[in-house]
Symmetry: C3
Subunit: 284 residues, 3 copies
């Protein structure tokens, strides 16, 4: 290694070490170029609703779940302003056989799962046929009495294992900055108060699963009543075999107080819809 | 390059790479020194209101604008507690000819612009004579029908070009950590839900403009109904020819849920006022 | 230095420079191992309330203090759901002689201090005997007229010195990432609006004190009415001679809008309780 190559190597290190500053300078430069270079109109304005979404929750469920669900409906309803997309809300999937479900680009399960075997079959068919899903918190809850093995295949994890209690804020880690759901989030942030679940086996053991966010191990011991002491703790993930994202948040009335978490929710919703098998609705 | 100079170089790298920790240790040290060295009283308590500010909004405008405006008035009203400064709020600039405007250290335009040519003339005279201004969101909106070229000279940018829709949170980047408006903000943060505007030409093309914050390019494609695909996206800036800051936030009811954005608003307000041509009111 | 050792050295630098990514990869790896290795149940579920806490506030105090206090009571009350611990709230310590105080693992003072010498004596005996304390804002206020030297010995600082006004958000710095109270917090964050106090002498001058959080010097000049110009500005600390944490936040109605600050509050509460001299209640 001669002097010149050493200097080149060290320069490369410099650029790497100062990555953030360089990136800033680069992005300023590239923004300036963008201004000068582009001629196409920068925005794609919807001429009609781009897609339909079905929101499902149980109005008479556990109070803290209903608190989250109602706030979630308000949150997503605000995203429909101007009719960029259409939102249906139901308290029961009984009226949604596969033929109706398939009209929706995404089903959003707010602490809710199909209530009987007919609803399960319709939902399975919907997902196996390329349907989209975003589920919060108890929508994925299942134990030995659930008797729905497909749910675990779909989620890519085992049964509910344990939880912190009471709901409280938690430091969370984005495990990748490359994914559309987490690309605009900081590497770590504090998620507002919720109850969080562990699973056994963890979805991390499933090679089809990509973990997006997990509770930081720095939170251990985690809880005041029910104290989680250790263990892998993924809270947002996707099973690549399906068009889905699961988010474990969803307990209590603080789910929408934080702009960063709110962006996570918009990102996840948008990403599932964008992969609609009839083409990305946002490109129409 | 010999062994000694290599080691020196590598040591320099170490110090650079571990910059944050060094800075922390330094600032603790300097704080300790401050405690021991200072003898002057650390605070400057106001003996009378330091300045007057005029807030302007239209109570019958678009609902989502009025939501923001009313929350802004509450937010700034809380900053008057103890009468450190005086706040006037008006729904019309008709009663504010230049002679009255010039009593104010700052005019804050909440989604509102002068309504006719007399009001425009008074506002122009106020700003050209060293007046202070902080404008939010639609206060800077203008298109081919606006017919007020001075506004573009003042803002330092072209016409409204495009926007994301619906309002949603967005990752924003502070383009400088040196400016009093952004010095206390993180390099990037997620701003709460708003609609954001692009301009053409971008204010970045104006050499008198200093861009303070912009939407991160990581947000592209940005929107669910109206999708912004690319382009320079400054959202907070100052035109150095005037005593002013423009902030593009201001649509909907989530403008004040985030402590970081709240600090940005206080910083911008304080900075404009601090440069009053009769001297910094906070030094009185 | 030969080529091989240079390459080794540079590789070490790489690993250092890319610390964050490495850490992420490592923690993913260690999480995976945790999943495979552990056999013990990961959580410790309470079978009975783990401890008792006494909250103290004055319902007829300054309005902005009562706003914070009532929100604090709601915030901590939500943490009792499921009776993991028992919460008593009182508007007077008159009914709490030492014999009653000692039943509590922690006393939380919300802008409140003992009201007379009998209450002071009981509180002194409680703390000197290993009692736990978490105090907010004005609970630590004292000046030349207070006449309670023990309070300063307990807090580890001098008299109230000066404050910013009005309440506003502030950039704060965690001075250590090793302490259980700050381990899960970012290095810096913006705390929501409050009035903040300086002390003279600063608690930093006391070798028994560990400063956990302070106002960033970047905030200077800090305030619109009462402007703090310089000085050491610790806002959260512990005096190692006692089982206590003091938090200077506590003025106004924005104390609980931020997930990061909420986590700080939970951490501080949990840490004081966890050091109960009869053993860590969370291990029961």
């Amino acid at each position: 290694m001669n002097k010149t190559s050493l200097i080149l190597l060290l320069t490369a290190f410099c650029l790497t070490c100062f990555g953030m500053n360089e990136e800033t300078r680069d992005s300023v430069q590239s923004r300036r170029e963008l201004v000068q270079a582009e001629s196409e109109f920068a925005a794609n304005y919807a001429r009609a609703p781009r897609f339909k979404a079905l929101f499902h929750y149980y109005p008479h469920a556990e109070e803290a779940h209903v608190q989250f669900d109602k706030q979630a409906i308000d949150f997503f309803h605000k995203l429909t302003y101007g009719e960029g997309w259409l939102m249906d809300v139901t308290a029961s999937l009984a009226d949604y056989p596969y033929e109706k479900l398939k009209e929706y680009s995404i089903v959003v399960s707010l602490n809710a799962a199909p209530a009987d075997s007919a609803q399960r079959v319709a939902f399975e068919q919907y997902m196996e046929s390329g349907g989209g899903w975003m589920g919060f918190h108890a929508s994925a809850y299942n134990d030995r009495n659930t008797g729905w093995p497909w749910l675990n295949k779909f989620l890519g994890c085992g049964l509910f294992y344990c939880n912190n209690w009471p709901p409280q804020p938690a430091l969370v880690e984005c495990e990748t900055g490359e994914h559309p759901v987490t690309r605009t989030l900081p590497h770590t942030f504090v998620a507002p108060a919720s109850e969080f679940y562990q699973w056994q086996p963890s979805p991390r053991m499933n090679s089809d699963v990509e973990i997006l966010l997990s509770i930081s191990p720095k939170m251990y011991p985690f809880g005041l009543k029910d104290v989680v002491k250790f263990g892998d703790f993924p809270i947002v993930w996707t099973n690549r075999k399906y068009r889905m994202v699961y988010l474990n948040m969803g307990h209590g009335d603080e789910g929408f107080i934080d702009a960063t978490q709110n962006l996570l929710f918009v990102n996840a919703f948008r990403w599932v819809v964008s992969r609609d098998q009839e083409g990305d609705p946002f490109m129409k």
